[in-house]
């Protein structure tokens, strides 16, 4: 499998060249264009329960398997959101990712949901999934991606976290004092400690949703 990432960081897209018989698993709706010999199979990955678990974390219920039949094939995949796409090679290792950041993978990768135990995270709408195995993982961001090599400790606004290696530990905390927490608009932040790679995104969804809200049509009450 060969891949090319284009349009970074604005409207990034991953174009994969697959050999005959090779397969890529992608989130539902990610296919932009493909050669005519790609076969599609829709699965609830991990069986029905696996699919349900993923639906809870906001990831689409179904993934599609695209296989190049009879000949080499190409397929272009893009996430739903404006932003970046990056590819990471997992060599038996583990990484955590914000649900909704998953785009596709090639190889033997196990996707497990891990609902973060700290209730504060859930309040921020941040659910993590765990990826383990060997292969290539494609993930996306809302906004541009920045990779930060953490060595010591580093603070990130929780809604800007995309992914991180499992060699890092994290702690959700209030920023500054009480007044700062409530009034600063920063809410909760995440302190990462240890040594490892962290990916952040330069935009976050909740403030965008809040900004869009007044533009929605108003429900007419029929009394």
């Amino acid at each position: 499998m060969k891949y090319e990432l284009t349009g970074k960081p604005d409207f990034a897209m991953a174009t994969l060249s697959l050999a005959a018989g090779e397969k890529v698993t992608a989130e539902a709706g990610a296919m932009v264009a493909m050669s005519a010999n790609m076969k599609i199979e829709t699965k609830a990955k991990g069986g029905l329960l696996g699919g349900l678990k993923r639906a809870l974390v906001g990831e689409s219920f179904f993934t599609n398997d695209f296989t190049a039949e009879g000949d080499a094939g190409t397929i272009s995949l893009a996430p739903s959101i404006p932003g970046d796409v990056e590819a990471v090679e997992l060599n038996g290792g583990t990484m955590y990712m914000q649900s909704g950041a998953y785009v596709a993978h090639v190889g033997n990768i196990n996707i497990d949901t891990k609902l973060n135990l700290q209730s504060f995270f859930a309040g921020e709408g941040l659910f993590l999934i765990k990826l383990t195995g060997t292969g290539t993982v494609f993930f996306c961001s809302y906004g541009g991606l920045k990779k930060i090599p953490v060595a010591g400790s580093y603070i990130v606004d929780t809604t800007h976290i995309v992914a991180f290696q499992d060699s890092l530990t994290f702690n959700v905390q209030a920023v500054g004092g009480l007044k700062a927490t409530f009034l600063s608009g920063e809410g909760l932040v995440c302190r990462f400690s240890g040594q490892g790679d962290l990916w952040i995104q330069t935009r976050s969804a909740p403030p965008f949703a809040f900004w869009l809200n007044p533009f929605r049509p108003v429900e007419k009450s029929n009394n």
Binding site: P9, D10, P82, G83, D84, G143, G144, K146, I148, G152, S153, Y154, I155, V156, D157, H160, V175, G176, K179, A180, L183, S184, G185, E186, R191, I200, Q201, T202, R203, P207, F208, F210, W211, L212, N213, P214, F215, R216, P217, V218, E219
Partner: protein, 226 residues
């Protein structure tokens, strides 16, 4: 202090490197990441703040009421980004001119800059658009954000700009809000009101119009209760 802006013009983020004791001020909610040695102080607009009611009105329009002041306890950095996708521009003010900035375009700035939301003028602007204007004076670094790419035009004479595309302008140029073309054109052209600038000075514009984008996407979202 050093400022670096990445991912322009679509998802710009500004990283401000601070030496020990140095500070930077931003609107609430703008911090993305920072080193683990920064103090945050939250304060309200004190200069010409306008009282509680005016502040609340601004809160309803989505603009944060509060400013955060970040002070480094040792060498470190804070990175800022706005809510919407778009650009960030660094403008160096030397104190000789004031800059009038659209409220949603103010992102962050040196603590030496003065922000005044209650200065006179800006009447006749944006009836129906929930935007207010900030007069920025003093010397220091200013970060403005936009929905779209930011570009500057040095005006020497007259220039017409659609009101939704104004980011900031030097107060050496004057403006007049006008209808575009005749009556039919105003109602039907989709341009609505435009701003005719006159004089000599710099105008900062953005390529795209956030409320128009909001209306287009918003119209496709499920309805909400009033």
């Amino acid at each position: 202090m050093k400022i670096e802006i990445i991912h322009r013009p679509s998802f710009a983020m500004a990283q401000v490197d601070l030496a020990e004791g140095e500070s930077f001020v931003s609107e609430g909610g703008a911090m993305v990441t920072m080193t683990d040695n920064i103090n945050i102080e939250t304060s309200t607009f004190s200069r010409g703040g306008g009282g509680l009611l005016k502040g609340l009105k601004r809160l309803l329009t989505g603009e944060s009421f509060f400013l955060n002041k970040f002070t480094a306890r040792g060498a470190g950095h804070v990175a800022f980004a706005p809510t919407l996708v778009g650009d960030i521009e660094q403008i160096t003010l030397d104190g000789s001119k004031n800059l009038i900035v659209q409220s949603t375009s103010y992102l962050a700035g040196s603590p030496t800059l003065e922000l005044d939301t209650q200065f006179g003028g800006m009447k006749g602007f944006f009836s129906g658009e929930s935007v207010f204007w900030i007069k920025i004076s003093g010397a220091g670094e200013l970060l403005v954000n936009s929905f779209g790419g930011i570009f500057a035009k040095d005006i020497d004479g007259k220039f017409i700009c659609d009101t939704g595309h104004i980011v900031a302008f030097e107060d050496t140029i004057s403006y007049k809000v006008k209808k575009v073309g005749g009556w039919k054109a105003t109602i039907l052209s989709g341009e609505g009101l435009v701003c005719e600038f006159e004089g000599k000075g710099r105008l900062y514009m953005q390529t795209h119009n956030a409320p128009e984008f909001g209306k287009l996407i918003g119209g496709k979202l499920p309805p909400r209760k009033q």
